[in-house]
């Protein structure tokens, strides 16, 4: 909540608006979700973020189609456009109608197509890794908060231990160890294997962040009346957790998941940048950036993947911030 004097953007406005609509019943009947939606709709910045996010998801899904229409196969060389002396595109960047973002130095691959294909890897890994973190984090966080006692101390201490690890170093080491052996493991091969591994590594190391928040939320929910009521009616642990508490945790889960996605995008980019991500020649933003850095004198090469990361992360952050404001007006 903001200051009582400051009425803009608070739930106070919901009532008069409903009256104007002639739907007095709605004053009592509005669910948290509806209120949040009303607020979110007014938040232009958050909506822009959401719009960009949806756009990016569509780009990722329809990457083959988009590239088929206005691009080139992402791994195709166009060395006729490259100077064999300086390795740079002959006209500097190669940007034009044929190559919207220009071509890579050295092999002349189409940057536009690679950025578009990079969105697939980036978003897929970020989404699924977030999902994994949320599932583990929520499960363990709620258990810790709900049961308390030794369960809580074991889970909390585990989270402490996890948070003490240099995550990036570990993720690097793990994906290195597992990937270098051979390119088939757990019945998977090639890109599928690397992507799955990255999802598990990133998801696995990030759950304590969600876990801590969920534990705190559960602790406060546990003392609420409706939980007491359910308990006095004879409800048992699982019922209370899944039917009474989880619905109330959906909002924070949604908010923190949205805010974890950009972190995971950066994480994946960092791993690819450090050379332990998805294997070449598959296009990833982090991988393109690390190639681009080698050719920093040809700046358009690192500009486009860098901007792709930036815009994506920014969009998710904007949307996540708006979502948080809408769902929980106290948190700003």
């Amino acid at each position: 909540m903001t200051a009582p004097l400051d009425v803009s953007g608070s739930e106070l406005e919901a009532a008069p608006e409903a009256v104007l609509d002639g739907q007095a019943r709605a004053i009592q009947g509005r669910s948290l979700g509806q209120i949040a939606w009303t607020r979110l709709k007014r938040d232009k910045v958050a909506l822009t973020g959401a719009g960009v996010v949806i756009f990016l998801i569509l780009v990722a899904i329809f990457a083959p189609l988009i590239v088929g229409l206005i691009g080139h196969p992402p791994n195709e060389f166009n060395q006729d456009l490259i100077s064999s002396e300086t390795l740079a595109p002959k006209d500097g960047t190669g940007i034009g109608w044929d190559h919207l973002f220009g071509v890579e130095p050295l092999n002349g691959r189409d940057i536009f197509s690679r950025v578009v294909y990079g969105a697939r890897i980036s978003l897929l890994i970020a989404f699924l890794a977030t999902l994994l973190s949320v599932v583990i984090g929520t499960l363990l966080g709620v258990m810790a908060g709900y049961f308390g006692g030794w369960v809580d101390s074991v889970i909390s201490k585990t989270m402490d231990v996890f948070l003490a690890f240099p995550i990036l170093v570990f993720a690097m080491a793990l994906s290195g160890i597992v990937q270098q052996g051979s390119d088939s493991a757990f019945g998977l091969t090639g890109d599928t294997l690397s992507v799955t591994l990255l999802i598990f590594i990133i998801g696995f190391f990030n759950w304590p962040y969600i876990g801590r928040i969920m534990r705190g939320q559960t602790l406060s929910l546990r003392e609420r009346e409706f939980v007491d009521a359910a308990r006095s009616l004879g409800a048992r642990g699982p019922y209370i957790i899944f039917r009474e508490m989880l619905p109330n945790l959906v909002a924070p889960i949604l908010v923190y998941a949205t805010l974890l996605i950009p972190t995971n995008i950066l994480f994946e980019a960092a791993l690819s940048f450090l050379g332990v991500g998805v294997r070449p020649p598959t296009a990833t933003w982090g991988g393109m950036l690390s190639d681009g850095v080698r050719f920093y004198t040809i700046p358009h090469f690192m500009f486009f993947p860098g901007m792709a990361i930036f815009i994506t992360v920014l969009a998710f952050n904007l949307f996540g911030d708006g979502l948080r404001d809408a769902l929980d007006p106290r948190a700003r």
Binding site: F77, S84, L87, P105, N107, Q180, F295
Partner: protein, 595 residues
């Protein structure tokens, strides 16, 4: 002697340079192939910077003492210990703090390939049909602590280098050739074992090497850093790299492994015993593990003198340097005795069929290969066989012409695919070292060009440290995991056919336990030719055999030659006596000075 002639030439060319300077500009010469001598100007009091000015003559010669030379390394030494180092730049640099029995002449161009005595009074004296080699040490040579250097110190240095468990990075030439007691494992593990059967030291000045078999090129072994004397009393085994006891003009002052070190003057080095070293600067500052792009930028800015690795400018620097005539004039473009190639593993199906291997040879886009390594200046010259042109015995062989533009001959490749029974192509894997972007680019380029004839490649990056020991170079692994192609490279340990070919084409160096550079060449006939060459005492006849081996390996199509490497070196600002020594194919670090 050499210096005088150079000065004479430079005085003349300084006059010429003055005249040329009046005409102004026009310094950018066409990229002539490295063997030729443009020799238009350079040197004197006002050295004229010019592309390839330090290629076959001394650029900016001077005898001025003082100053600190600053070196930087994008990676790190395998080890500073003379017994434990196998990098070309390390062999080049080690001469500042160590003196081996014999050395390469510190002179520009081809002259640098000549062996001259260093610690020894003369080159080795062979006897017993080149099975025994005797060297006499110079008088008055001392370690940095003032103790005289004796032949026992040289012997100890060689013996300790035999312990490949403590010193894993070195070569095994001495292990293989010296007539050592059975199961001898070096002085740490085989304490007190009499080794006179291999090396005798009849007196403090004399050292005698006994070989198992005659070898006429033993002086090449005697120039290896392992013959640098090590005082047994000061030997700290694996820790010796932290403070190597100097026998050269400089000694270690501060050494933080992984970050850098510096060298200061060694007062116990006597110039009278050493006509080859000028020892101009007051000291050297070397930093390691520095970002490669930063090194280039700092050299261009004059903040740093030498990129010690000597492998050339980074791709980002390339565009900047080659497009600016002023910057280009500050570079040299030597050819190396190194081949960048891809091994075609005949143990992996269907490459066991020679026609499938030939299809790979024909289909490869050589221009893309060249571009992957950095183009015609920093990558190299497109190779059509194994032996680089600089190595005596090189024969022009081109069995698989890659089409008119060197982009690959699709028709021929398809023909051979059909002959191989795979008319629609096949699938295999290509391995490369994950830390090497150029090898990654090569793998990607081959993936593209072979796809044109239906050969599908899957990229398999492996960590550099384990590449030969555990993956591509381990026959069992390569076979069971279908590593049909392996991106590879080999540089001669010294510029002769044996030094170049033996480690990459003799099938007997392949070990089941892994680790050999030869990943694919398995031909008993080639092995026989190596034996023939070792017994051949006539140099011309021996050199002819190297050419025949090259021809045979290419006929077998076990190796897809990519490039004979070149590098674009940045000449540091304000450095004197800059020249490329062909023995190292990079700047000679021995006699540089600060202007």
């Amino acid at each position: 002697m050499k210096r005088k002639t150079t000065l004479g030439v430079t005085a003349l060319s300084a006059v010429l340079a003055l005249g040329l300077a009046a005409c102004g500009g026009g310094t950018a010469t066409s990229p002539s192939s490295s063997g030729s001598a443009p020799a238009s100007s350079g040197g004197g009091d006002a050295p004229k910077a010019e592309f390839n000015a330090a290629l076959d003559k001394v650029f900016n010669p001077s005898d001025k003492k003082g100053g600190i030379l600053k070196f930087a390394n994008a990676g790190d030494w395998d080890s500073l210990d003379p017994a434990d180092t196998y990098y070309g730049y390390s062999w080049n640099f080690v001469r500042l703090y160590g003196r081996s029995l014999v050395m390469f002449k510190p002179a520009p161009g081809k002259e640098g390939n000549q062996l001259i005595p260093d610690l020894a009074e003369s080159l080795g004296v062979p006897s017993d049909g080149a099975k025994t080699w005797t060297y006499k040490l110079k008088q008055g040579v001392k370690f940095e602590d003032g103790t005289p250097i004796t032949s026992k110190d040289v012997k100890y240095g060689v013996l300790r280098s035999l312990d490949k468990e403590v010193f894993p990075d070195g070569y095994t030439y001495f292990n293989e050739t010296l007539d050592l007691p059975k199961d001898y494992k070096g002085p740490y593990k085989s304490k007190g074992v009499n080794t006179d059967s291999a090396i005798e030291t009849p007196d403090d000045q004399t050292i005698v090497f006994h070989l198992k078999q005659p070898y006429s090129g033993f002086d090449y072994f005697a120039q290896l850093p392992a013959t640098i004397p090590v005082p047994e009393a000061k030997d700290t085994g694996a820790k010796y790299r932290e403070h190597v006891i100097s026998s050269g003009p400089y000694k270690f002052d501060k050494n933080e492994i992984g970050k850098g070190f510096n060298l200061v003057r060694n007062d116990n080095w006597d110039p009278a015993t050493d006509p080859n070293r000028k020892a101009l600067p007051e000291g050297y500052e070397v930093s390691t593990n520095v970002n490669a792009d930063d090194i280039d930028n700092r050299i261009l800015a004059g903040d740093l003198h030498v990129d010690i690795a000597g492998t050339g400018a980074q791709p980002a620097t390339l565009g900047r340097v080659l497009t600016d005539p002023n910057l280009k004039a500050g570079t040299d473009n030597p050819t190396l005795t190194r081949l960048w190639y891809t091994s075609i593993n005949g143990n992996v199906k269907p490459l066991d069929n020679i026609d499938c291997r030939k299809a790979v040879e024909y289909a490869a886009d050589k221009v893309a290969y060249q571009t992957a390594y950095g183009g015609e200046f920093s990558g190299g010259q497109i190779a059509t066989s194994l032996m680089p042109p600089l190595i005596p015995g090189h024969k022009d062989i081109n069995l698989y012409p890659a089409g008119p533009d060197n982009h690959g001959d699709v028709a021929k490749a398809k023909e051979h695919l059909t002959a191989c029974g795979q008319p629609n192509g096949f699938s295999t894997n290509i391995s490369y070292r994950a830390e090497r972007p150029k090898e990654k680019a090569t793998a990607e380029a081959l993936q593209q060009s072979l796809a044109k004839v239906g050969i599908k490649l899957t990229l398999k990056p492996f960590p550099q440290a384990d590449y030969f020991a555990l993956y591509a170079g381990k026959p069992g692994y390569a076979k069971s995991n279908g590593i049909g192609l392996a991106v590879n490279g080999w540089g001669a340990d010294w510029p002769d056919g044996y030094g170049f070919l033996s480690q990459m084409a003799d099938s007997r160096v392949i070990r089941e336990t892994g680790g050999s550079s030869n990943v694919s060449v398995r031909d008993p006939e080639v092995d026989k030719m190596f034996d023939q060459a070792a017994q051949e005492t006539d140099i011309a006849k021996r050199e002819a055999i190297w050419g025949q081996i090259d021809q045979k390996v290419m006929e077998d199509a076990f190796i897809l030659p990519g490039l004979w490497a070149k590098s674009l070196l940045l000449r540091g600002k304000g450095v004197t006596n800059v020249y490329i020594n062909d023995a190292f194919s990079m700047y000679d670090y021995l006699n540089m000075g600060v202007q």
